[in-house]
């Protein structure tokens, strides 16, 4: 039995009187891809931001390989909904900046590693472009490359395609799927249910800051006994109903 790479213990987050996360427990094994789903405001993004250390926790702890994490310690990498690329730098410079400033790599070596990371997300030819000259999907792939280049132990994706036009989501989802297939440990918050169902080793359903269910996708997406999960998934089924009838 291997040890979990990420373990979340009794994690709580309160803002004033509002309980955002209530005693979340979650163990993630190396190579697992955890899908995190749930209604808007259920605490999905907060869970990721607490694991990343970007939001303060009110109780409990987050450990990666047995150590408490801090933002920037290299344990956890985060990909944001709005990419958060630096607009004055080219794609290559976006990826290389942390390599130079944090890893202290010489400029040439950092640029080379940045190119390799960009090639991994299918952007080998576009390293010289500024974010404004890239499509949304390309920008998000640069952001993924930027995070990958620092080789974090666990990758967090916070609604990585929510800011994209539908036809641009596929290229980003394909990259995430390739990473998962290569054994990258990840947590993915997404509303792309089909993607989550195919990607995840386990799916966590959050509602009002509580893990309602955590199960392999075949189980969680199958005929549901849990009413909150069922009504949530029903909204997605209703939305694609027209396609099934056709």
């Amino acid at each position: 039995m291997t040890a979990p790479i990420l373990s979340v213990r009794a994690l709580e987050r309160r803002v004033g009187d509002v309980e955002i996360l209530r005693r979340i427990d979650l163990d993630v094994m190396p190579g697992e891809a955890i899908g995190v789903i749930g209604p808007s405001g259920s605490g999905k993004s907060s869970l990721l931001r607490c694991i990343a250390g970007l939001d303060a926790v009110s109780g409990g702890e987050v450990m990666v390989e047995g150590r408490r994490t801090q933002p920037g310690d290299g344990a956890v990498g985060m990909v944001f909904q709005h990419f958060n690329l630096w607009p004055h730098l080219t794609a290559r410079e976006n990826v290389a900046l942390a390599l130079r400033l944090v890893r202290k790599m010489p400029a040439a070596a950092a640029a080379e590693k940045a190119e390799a990371a960009l090639a991994r997300v299918g952007l080998a030819a576009l390293g010289g472009r500024k974010p404004a000259a890239l499509s949304g999907g390309q920008q998000q792939r640069v952001a993924i490359a930027r995070t990958l280049a620092m080789e974090p132990r666990v990758l967090l994706f916070d609604e990585p395609t929510a800011a994209l036009d539908p036809e641009l989501t596929t290229e980003v989802l394909d990259v995430i799927r390739d990473l998962a297939a290569a054994g990258t440990t990840m947590l993915v918050v997404s509303h792309e249910m089909g993607f989550i169902a195919r990607l995840s080793t386990r799916v966590v359903f959050l509602d009002h800051g509580v893990v309602v269910q955590a199960a392999p996708p075949a189980e969680l997406f199958a005929a549901q006994a849990e009413p909150r999960v069922r009504s949530f998934l029903q909204t997605y089924l209703d939305r694609v109903a027209w396609a099934r009838d056709a």
Binding site: A52, L54, P71, G72, D73, G74, V76, G77, M78, F80, H82, N84, L85, W86, P87, H88, L97, A98, L101, V102, K130, A143, R146, T147, M150
Partner: protein
Amino acid sequence: MMAALADSFLAAARGLPLTIAIWGAGVATGLVLGFLVAAIRFFAPLALSWPLAMAVEAVRGVPFLVQCFLLYFGGPFIGIDLSPIMAGWVALSVYGAAYFSEVFRAGFLSVPPGQLEAARMLGIPRHQAVLRIMLPMMALAVLPSLANLAVILIKETAILSIITVPELTFRVQGVGSATFAFAETTLVLALVYWALVEATAWASRHTERRIARALAA
């Protein structure tokens, strides 16, 4: 009348170098001070930023003329005894700094927190994130407002004539007092300021574009 006009232009030519020099020095010092004030207000704890906020409000709430009087005539009572030119430079710098600081502060606030969170997650130290990410991102946003303020400050230098700084207005008004040709001298003064403002506005647009290109390249 022609003689009065000619005398006015001559006086203007003699006063112009000091106007430009004191404006340039005031803008330069004002930019540095204004940036420091904005940076302290943005990054430092409230105990430090609150007095600065009050100072900025005070400078912005008092007419420049009154500030010049306070410094030049009031200063000696608290041991600040400055020559007219020094007092003019200090007054213009402080006045400019208050307005520049507000532009810089808006610039700091215009950088989305997400871009800095991304830097934090990657382990980029805070000071490096400010230097490499925040400042370049805000530079483009603040440039036009800074240039605009600098051009406006040219006109404020006329007020320094009241504390006997021998700049443009002081010199040309001297001709008026000596010849009683107030209409002609004032007309010349207006034309010279207008030309000066147009010239600096053109120069600042030019510089602005060059800096924007350099940052965007």
